[in-house]
Subunit: 316 residues, 2 copies
Amino acid sequence: MAARAQPLTDDARRTDPYRSRLDPEPALVDRVDPVVYGKGAPPPGLDRAMVERYERDGFIELEGLLQPAELAALQRELVRLREDTRGIDPDTLICEPGGTQLRSIFAIHEQSALIRRLATDERLVRIAQYLLGDEVYIHQSRLNYKPGFFGKEFYWHSDFETWHTEDGMPRMRALSMSIALTENTGFNGPLMVIPGSHRRYVSCVGETPEDHYKQSLRRQEYGVPDPGSLERLFNEGGGITTFTGAPGKIVLFDCNAMYGSNSNISPLPRSNVFLVFNSVTNRLVAPYAAAKPRPEFIAARRNVTALVPRSGPLCD
Amino acid sequence: MAARAQPLTDDARRTDPYRSRLDPEPALVDRVDPVVYGKGAPPPGLDRAMVERYERDGFIELEGLLQPAELAALQRELVRLREDTRGIDPDTLICEPGGTQLRSIFAIHEQSALIRRLATDERLVRIAQYLLGDEVYIHQSRLNYKPGFFGKEFYWHSDFETWHTEDGMPRMRALSMSIALTENTGFNGPLMVIPGSHRRYVSCVGETPEDHYKQSLRRQEYGVPDPGSLERLFNEGGGITTFTGAPGKIVLFDCNAMYGSNSNISPLPRSNVFLVFNSVTNRLVAPYAAAKPRPEFIAARRNVTALVPRSGPLCD
């Protein structure tokens, strides 16, 4: 079932439209893949205008999808897992740079029954299936704590650039959902996106060092877009959109959207569940620009069966 | 004219209401000094309601004080000084942590004729004189560049805590003016203040190492308020106010206001002129908790003659 990490052929490398980290100069190229793969009427939770906005901007916000009791259960799960990480694989626990405070737990849909249930919920899965025009599975999941006072910034990046070069995701046919569990204000390091940036691709300079992920989950040093390309995306796309709002709000964005967040010195944490849905026909192959693939908890290879959507509330 | 840095007597240390960096535990104490020292009718640019807001919150915003031509001249000066620092004392040039990008030029009112003129402008000086109820001089000045992309955060601090412990400023009778030279958006690391925090004083733990300023201007490690006190100020004071707005806006805040800023990964720089006015009866003595005073360009001791307000436009 799982795609094997066979070495890429020279031909596959040569014809790769999303070449990165192999050249001495950065480049800004056009996306060759669709943004919206689905046809016909969108599923519940989406309408035509939202689909058009997603296609144009690379993101949309969904409100009111989760019931208050469901949100409360997710918030309790957030606290429970921070206070008791005994059942959690230590490799999946990531701390803040230079600190011991918990930043994220990866592969959370495999370690929390509630978040497993969330990841298969038909309200989310039907939307992912529609936009990607295919059956889907979870490529990556995490619970982000982003604690108050000392939350560090996360520099601009396209997730797809990393997933392509380091994990071997062939094409742009994946999307992320960020489900807010705390309030996002202008000052607690909210997610920022450059609208329209998903239609371009920034080819980054620099080779990927071995076991790069051990540092990059804390602080990014390779696969970093150059300031010139960022400035062009910023000027082409009309600036920066900052996502603020109440807990429960869901930001849905394309795998190639350019995003990041500033630091958070406020006392308010900024916590969310982060789920990445990938099309089953876009399963991972060998990395396009790294010696060996990253571990399963960051980039699924084994557990890539199509999700079966579940209906009904998340919890009783 | 200048106050001498005579060693403090034991008695002065014992009766200091703003003791800090000398005890093993942090403390949150009440301010014993007035916030507004002036009596009677406020000067042009201020009204009663603004004075009351300043007293309550510890800050106010002033708009329309500078004419467009004056603002444009200050913006040209900002660019000129970044591009040609030949006339500038190298000690006063501060770079971003871990980088070579210019963050600030200190003692800028002594190195730029235009900013010298701004610092003596009657529109600003009369306001400072009224709020401090006294003649005033410039305790510190700087031009802040806060470049785009890699602008680092500046953690919460009360300037007064540093000026008292490291520079020997006796009491809370100083204020700062930050004059925006670029647009301040929610995402380019704008100034954040905790309203009402100026009425309390956070006594910090830890001794001040010698020549601390060489690091602290880039990254603060001593004189850092504890999270517990910050959380109390945040809850008492009603959260955080973020200053956004167009170039030319002036934020005026009390020396003991708790403020900071998040990082700036956006392409937009956040530049301002920063002027600190101190009452002439509050000139520096010996540091309250440091072996030797910091240099003149950070904390004026020699050049502390009362400013003579100048009328008319900043430039032709």
